[in-house]
Symmetry: C2
């Protein structure tokens, strides 16, 4: 929690520089070897965590704002963020309002305002990035999706909506280019889907469906050294992958 | 275009009642017997058309605002609107700015502000609704998607993004409940998909895939009276349809 002096400085600066009533929150999912996590921040001596978020400069394009905010708050750079939903409940930031309400008069207090927040999400390999907390936070950590801490404001709803969107996206868009090695086996790719969906998939159906999308190249090489029969190696066909990102999967309508 | 007096009254009222910097625009697609149209407004003696849009009251939930704005501007009521994207280019409403810039000082002129707009879309049977222009517009009409007039601001981009979203949605969610008769034939349903996608589909693949989703009940009755072999009648299985709306199609992952 900010001191009165810090709050006043922050609010003066915010009114000067940011668009009122609009914020951005980022849901960054991290995948690695069968684990799915989400990146959260926490202030020292508080129990509740929150998503990395912030405000738009008055003349800043929103996609640039999302990138900047994620970088400022977590150190993560060059992450592909996708806009997914605006959260506009008039009481959604009541908790902020109550936290700072008695410290500054309403017309000076940025946090008494209603904020609509634009949600962005991303999926990264959490071993490829090094999150670091910003000046407002004590902790910036990957938290287990199956054992989430208590979240501030409506950040639980934002997180759940992002996860639903990601899972739905598996049905119509490719995923995994920035999460898999250049060459991977079908069971490795299946593991990614199973981890995101949090359920087991049938091996044969997965392979048949995935090959039907036409986004994979099969290598002549086999993965060697395992205890089982050496599996085939695949890589993404980038041209078809890219086309499917914009148009949905072939074998759609 | 508003007179100076009308503009002043509108701006005074807007500053008093609306959230600044945020607007809503609605893309209503109309389908009927193989035609896909979009609902547009036009001011008398102007060439350019625009999407029905407006502003949020200071304490209004955004979904309610979208419903209200569509009703106020077009007369359409109880339409299921889906949020699909926020458009946030800092210069997107420059045309509005230029139109009214010299009529009022900047601090009194609502339209000099930057507005992010939240896009909503809907798909209706255009024979079921009776659009009517509001006080600001002279015309409120269904326009042919293949022969669109010139659109104001970035409304062409908003419309294109809505159409892309609708087409992508066909790959992972059911569609048609409010567009088909209670009982319909497979060719009738296929025509809906073909019209939205603007391409011919293979009859057998369409039927196989559609039945695979498990959202249709096959009737014992046949459609009689046509020149060809009487086709089977189907209806939507509402429970499975609803489940697929929230979770995506079965036969997904």
């Amino acid at each position: 929690m900010l001191t009165k002096k810090e709050l006043k400085e922050y609010c003066d600066d915010a009114r000067e520089n940011y668009l009122p009533h609009i914020s951005i929150d980022c849901v960054v999912f991290g995948f690695h070897e069968g684990l799915l996590k989400v990146l959260l921040l926490k202030v020292a001596n508080e129990d509740e965590w929150y998503l990395p978020g912030g405000f738009l400069f008055k003349k800043e394009p929103i996609e640039m704002a999302a990138d900047r905010i994620l970088k400022e708050r977590t150190g993560l750079d060059e992450i592909f963020l996708q806009q997914f939903h605006v959260f506009g409940d008039p009481d959604r930031s009541k908790q902020h309002f109550e936290m700072y309400n008695d410290m500054l008069p309403n017309d000076e207090n940025w946090f008494v305002n209603r904020f609509l927040t634009i949600g962005y999400y991303a999926l990264v390999d959490f071993c490829d990035v090094n999150p670091a907390p910003d000046v407002f936070s004590a902790t910036c950590s990957w938290c287990d999706l199956n054992d989430l801490p208590k979240l501030k404001l409506d950040h639980g709803l934002i997180l759940k909506t992002a996860l639903d969107t990601l899972r739905l996206q598996l049905n119509y868009q490719p995923i995994g280019y920035n999460l898999m090695q250049k060459e991977f086996t079908m069971p490795e790719l299946q593991k990614l889907y199973e981890t995101i969906l949090d359920k087991k998939l049938d091996r044969r159906n997965f392979q048949r469906r995935m090959l039907g999308f036409g986004i994979l190249n099969k290598s002549e090489k086999l993965r060697k050294g395992g205890a089982h029969k050496a599996p085939y190696l695949y890589s993404f066909d980038l041209e078809n992958y890219q086309a499917a990102l914009t148009e949905g999967f072939k074998g759609g309508w």
